[in-house]
Symmetry: C2
Subunit: 765 residues, 2 copies
Amino acid sequence: NYYQLIWSNVPFFTVPLARAHGKSFAHRSELRQAKRIVVKLGSAVVTRGDECGLALGFSHKYNVVAVLQNQGREMMIVTSGAVAFGKQRLRHEILLSQSVRQALHSGQNQLKDMSLPVLEARACAAAGQSGLMALYEAMFTQYSTCTAQILVTNLDFHDDQKRRNLNSTLHELLRMNIVPIINTNDAVVPPPEPNSNLQGVNVISIKDNDSLAARLAVEMRADLLIALSDVEGLYDSPPGSDDAKLLDTFYPGDQHSITYGTKSRVGIGGMEAKVKAALWALQGGTSVVIANGTHPKVTGHVITDIVEGKKVGTFFSEVKPAGPTVEQQTEMARSAGRTLASLEPEQRSDIICTLADLLTERKDEILSANKKDMEHAVSTGRLSPAMLKRLSLSSSKLNSLSIGLRQISVSSQDSVGRVLRRTRVANKLELEQITVPIGVLLVIFESRPDCLPQVSALAIASGNALLLKGGKEAANTNRILHELAQEALSIHGVKDAIQLVSTREEVEDLCHLEKMIDLIIPRGSSQLVRDIQRAAKSIPVLGHSEGICHVYVDHEASVDKAIKIIRDSKCDYPAACNAMETLLVHRDLLRTPLFDQIIDMLRTEHVKIHAGPKFASYLTFSPSEVKSLRTEYGDLECCIEVVDSMLEAVDHIHKYGSSHTDVIVTENEDTAEQFLQQLDSACVFWNASSRFADGYRFGLGAEVGISTARIHARGPVGLEGLLTTKWVLRGEGHTAADFSEQGSMTYLHENLPVAQVLPERRTTS
Amino acid sequence: NYYQLIWSNVPFFTVPLARAHGKSFAHRSELRQAKRIVVKLGSAVVTRGDECGLALGFSHKYNVVAVLQNQGREMMIVTSGAVAFGKQRLRHEILLSQSVRQALHSGQNQLKDMSLPVLEARACAAAGQSGLMALYEAMFTQYSTCTAQILVTNLDFHDDQKRRNLNSTLHELLRMNIVPIINTNDAVVPPPEPNSNLQGVNVISIKDNDSLAARLAVEMRADLLIALSDVEGLYDSPPGSDDAKLLDTFYPGDQHSITYGTKSRVGIGGMEAKVKAALWALQGGTSVVIANGTHPKVTGHVITDIVEGKKVGTFFSEVKPAGPTVEQQTEMARSAGRTLASLEPEQRSDIICTLADLLTERKDEILSANKKDMEHAVSTGRLSPAMLKRLSLSSSKLNSLSIGLRQISVSSQDSVGRVLRRTRVANKLELEQITVPIGVLLVIFESRPDCLPQVSALAIASGNALLLKGGKEAANTNRILHELAQEALSIHGVKDAIQLVSTREEVEDLCHLEKMIDLIIPRGSSQLVRDIQRAAKSIPVLGHSEGICHVYVDHEASVDKAIKIIRDSKCDYPAACNAMETLLVHRDLLRTPLFDQIIDMLRTEHVKIHAGPKFASYLTFSPSEVKSLRTEYGDLECCIEVVDSMLEAVDHIHKYGSSHTDVIVTENEDTAEQFLQQLDSACVFWNASSRFADGYRFGLGAEVGISTARIHARGPVGLEGLLTTKWVLRGEGHTAADFSEQGSMTYLHENLPVAQVLPERRTTS
């Protein structure tokens, strides 16, 4: 479906695998094509990390290496961890060979406390190798995948004959669909330098396997080398310092911009050595990602994430892209946004009017870009007719867009910096609460390109910086519309306040920029909203994922109004979130002409009826009974249920509704007012169609969405939902101590008048 | 530290392990004491689940069974999964024995496609047993823990001699600190009924291992049986139906309240059999928890969670507690809260005044309860002097609390139902936006019991239902204060709107009640706030985790004001979140008397000074250089940094601040206004101490906290932050279609006057 399209721009499985043949990939999104992949698992990953269990785990879900292999890729593993494995094994053997009887007789705890001799790393490696291999084999056997063990030393790469032998063996294994598991033959290398990183055991420096993996990747002309250890990736300065930033992508030319720390968890120079190995592989034509393999993750897996092109760890790329990264775009937007917020209201209004003008003046450019997108969409056949309609722009659409923008420009005049409250806290100490922009907004929208100028105008009016992430299928239209928005912004020098994010960026990655983005507004299917709510754990999301709206017809309802409202609520636009899904009918109406008229009308309109359990029990024959009273049909279908009273209707809605919009139809004002008071939904209507729950119909101008959240904005959200407040206090050297018992001042807390401004004035065209 | 105390009321490691000896535990929190534990791993857990890798995982972090064993518990595992294991093994063998050459020559994909004979379950079990055991052994060897294999049949329990043999063998193993791994000896049992649950292989019904585990647990007098499969636990009606609720605790007497489904993933009656086995074990004196072992989890582990008393799966208990569960409390609170919201404002105000009266009238009761808590705290010596001070109440504290409550009662008059906006949408179609309560609040507070009446009053004033979770050390004081709050609420029949959650409940469990709680407000240390923000993924949290406040002294500052404000901001109460942490000084001030006076004052006040990098570069000698410019000292310490201009100060604060409260000291009004405008913090002050950032000082009455979030409430939050809005539309049968091109109506969107009410009027005492 379409959602899949924007989420991961091209579905994973449709990407053809491709051998890079000595040319590394330019962008993370291309990593999906990688056919031959070397995965290097550091000692920390194999012995300590959770990713070990997950990376190599024998469960069906998580042996991702086997899964990738079964996708037709050629996977190779370079493993560490034999030393740690062997250590445990030897320790166990030593314990057993000491007098077990003695240990058993003197109590169970002694086993743990017995002192152990210091174990030699090479012996440990030898002892651990077999256990490690057995484990790998068990894990791959689950997938009917064979593994093969290869032990190498660095010398094997220097001797040409040995190198050729190794090469042809590995190629033969790959050809036979066998996963080679490669490790250094530690038992036959010279004794290592003492190094007590790993729990008191002398280990062979971790550096060895990094360079081994790099050499192997280049030798085998692998497309991708994934090097997992317990570091996140490459930072621009020593991790932990105030300014240290994890580099998403590293270009060989940028090496001077890196400051390596003098200390790190992997020892002096550990990261430098990793980078050296990575650059070496990159030069040899293999793309490299360095990432942390020891983080527990609920969904997915670091290796899968990397191969799916997600922003995990540091990606090494030879090709520096022309444009800024999304992080740079966010920084630019925030900075320009601050200037935008400090402009005069007239200037912001000015920008919006300019954009409105541009939409009509540059109509031809826009429509020709839109035509390209339409043609492409038609030729690929990926979009449904409804979606094609949403994608298409027309001269008249642009005109009404332009008119809408002018309305927003009017209401922008008194939005930012409005004084909401003034208090004289004490003599010469005055407090103001004023409206300010929220900061940086991320708006994710599906194929509708007209969303772009609307949302841009709302962001400009409210002084917010804006990141726009549109669907790939509207790429051309979005590009020109964004250019026009920037053109309008430039008249007051704030061009960068609105940024269009590249279609290559993953929505999920954007949802993780919690230090940079203040509010996410998804505009699209409820599936999109739900997925983004899930992905954006630390950033608030404004929107609604469900619209289960009810119309309750009271026994004192007017026949005409009931019929009119039910028809409009269900049939005006059944796919809308504010369409009726459940019709609640007062029991007394059941055997009345009104009820028959309702049913007749629904039949005439081809609405499929489902019966709620109570309704079904009233009928001798009945329509299909509902599976759940919480269904959002989004189509010409609805559920009918019977209630005994208005209060039962309220209870029903509280229990099964989504607090979006609910309607009562009655002529009894008391009943209506009770319903309106008691019902806890964002919109509660009396004798009006649920379809009025809409920012434009409410008179808010364009809306950024409808919120079913209970804090901040609720219901249709216009300009005001994009504002927050700040407190400004002006004094003359006042201190809290002045107000203490010994102090000379007392609090007045006198409310001062605030110039009353009606919120979001609007005139309709 | 204290936080640890409230978080998991009694630290895990201090609980002595205890044999229950035939008496099951009454409450989940007692499961921590369980010494002898049987863990039953269903086939789904062993073969499919992630928990398998985690449950048995060979990483140090996650072989939780071994970890529990090493804590001194006696762990036993009842395992399934041999069939699935054997299936894969046999499949592999069959493949290899078919012409491998042929497969290799005809391409790699054929291996996967080759058809396989149907495998017999018992043969699979026999073939899989050895592999499964090898895996368990490898996993436990990592922890230097021995395992032993026991194969049993149901008959072994019926024959007395066999049962005694089994019993003594198991006891001997436990005595030797060895973990027995028990499985049914499937190879020697009668052929199973066909059942194609498990990927086309005939399996032995999963029921067997449930009853085996129960029998074994009772036979061995285990304290706890943890039965993990792929079902969440016991539901009160078939899972998936509208009303199905997972039971947190199940009492044998409640069995009639359960409706078993006719179908479930584990086959007809699967759950019933599980429950039967569980009840059998419970009757035998073993506590039981049924839970899902196949969910991936980032932190912790289902087994650990269960043993820590967290709400995972269904806990079987013989003792039904007297009070309601926390879920029932939430339901009661929400329902009574709705009534509270529909009361007249005067009635809510009335309740608050009554509570204010009760605080003074029943002073003696309160103080004597508080005395008990104080004595207990002193005797255990767990609280620091500062915390003891916060815990203690006095007659005068109660008086001022009572005065504060009367102020809240005044402001409560115009809070709920206030009309914020009125619009004539069209002829006879009128829209109102009115304030309504948020819903159910959860307030978590540390030792300060005076928080309870304050927060209660704010909740009553705003018509919200309230769950209170206080610290254990204030249990007696909180109980009496809560009783008084309920007494006050009863005068208008809404007693249940405020609920005190038992100290036994885990904060983390409460954070997961996302369908029941609308807003969480933690009141306590920033560590508490951070932990709750992490735990409460789907519920918004109102609060701030950091307060890095700055005072910027401009080169045009007044000497007196600067000294006064810096002293007050840093020294008035250094531990407060609104205390100054970084002093920014204009460069031109460096060699002036003002600067010397500042330094002298800080020295006199014993403030330890850290130098920012730029400041340090100006000095020949320098105080210790800061590690990070983002430090919250919370003590008589601060950082001093030099900036070249007001704008650089703004940049510094944007970069290193926490957007809490920042101050400029200057006599230049233009500079000040620019600073106030440009700086993006919740509170920005000119010539006033940062300590004014406080709800009471702002004139908001009591505050529920200070928010550094950017949406909803920002800065000090009073009554208004506990309100949201709803939209009320009143029509006469209006439909959206009336306004279409063919329709007869047009939008007016005329703003109607709203009676202006000043927000939160307050008079000071």
